[in-house]
Symmetry: C2
Subunit: 217 residues, 2 copies
Amino acid sequence: MDKEISSATLRRLPRYLFYLRGLQQKGEDRISASRIADDLDVQHTQVRKDLACTGAEGVPKVGHLVTDLIRSIEDFLNWNCSSEAFLVGVGHLGTALLGFKAFEETGLRIIAAFDSDPKKVGKALHGVEVLDLQKLPSVSRKKRVRIGIITVPGEHAQGVAEKMVKCGIQAIWNFAPVQLDLPPEVIVENMEMQASLALLSFKLKQKLAGGKNQAID
Amino acid sequence: MDKEISSATLRRLPRYLFYLRGLQQKGEDRISASRIADDLDVQHTQVRKDLACTGAEGVPKVGHLVTDLIRSIEDFLNWNCSSEAFLVGVGHLGTALLGFKAFEETGLRIIAAFDSDPKKVGKALHGVEVLDLQKLPSVSRKKRVRIGIITVPGEHAQGVAEKMVKCGIQAIWNFAPVQLDLPPEVIVENMEMQASLALLSFKLKQKLAGGKNQAID
DNA sequence: TAGATTGTTAATCGATTAACAATC
DNA sequence: TAGATTGTTAATCGATTAACAATC
């Protein structure tokens, strides 16, 4: 009987999580929804609702235990257990992702990288072996991997995505700025850097235009 | 008398733009809002409203000229003129951004990179010089740069952001997973990779849980 | 007890979608 | 003319916010 979870809520949860980890490092063991709200510029009701989605429970007058909240969010996002992933496209961005420590905190483990450039194949980057893209099917047969990360140029993304789907990949994290056309049962999440930049550019343009206060957000 | 532009619209505009550039490469010169909608899985009314925001005008029965639409969106986002930026934090991600060709299409030009690691200072990565972070103020005095990109680890992001603001930076593109606390007149856009991953993780968890069809999105 | 906090129910607001008039 | 398309106005839907009851 779970409620549907809005994507807005899902996008906020990691912010709470990183904030809570920060508190934990400072040695704080309790936190109220109101303080989270203040520190992260969110409405306190919003924080309460978001946290409630994860099943977290607080104690009136006391608040939440930081460790409980962290575990609750991690469990909810499935970030407590390790999820293995393939990455295709070992360019600058792909290489950066291979070395991205922060993924450990999300349970994401890139266990192999693929590229079709012979110059890249055979190397190990940040401890991850780079294999020939043609080996994707055979490696997939040995390892049941469900997540595929696409960091190839836009024009190759669709082809790579189709290969991934053939190899049993069920969820694709797509960093290429193209719309992938795949069977509906495949989960596709587009990492749209340009969307974020668009907001920045537009706000800056408005600000420079003389502060006609067209508030956005 | 402009309407306020919703951030949802701003986030969609780059998707239209990349799609239109693809059409242009294929040599197509006209396009209807309905076809954009079909190809990008958006409602056609939505496409029309979004495009109307940019000032684009179509012709009934004919549609839009691809080149007009492209220019209209680019102008609206201020992606037609070059915007100079500083980048601080030349780790994997920072390096990747320095080599990111796609930025050219958004008018973003990173003209200098900074790091406090002496091993990195002095190099030129993808044609961009890496300078000591301490030189940020002096370089800023010579060059009027308005955009700052933060790719340092979370614990240093706030400090770097404050330095940037002191140097006249007016808009910050923050890749660190922390909430920056800055004067309200500074534009901050957080590039939340983890937010995107959270959606992917949760959808996959649900799918694997047996497809109790809690549709999200 | 009073105050601080949780968590829920109701109200508001804004974005999306549907319906439709205008037009080449 | 009829059909395809644009662009706008009205309706719906869902997310956010406000109000409030519950509680340690």
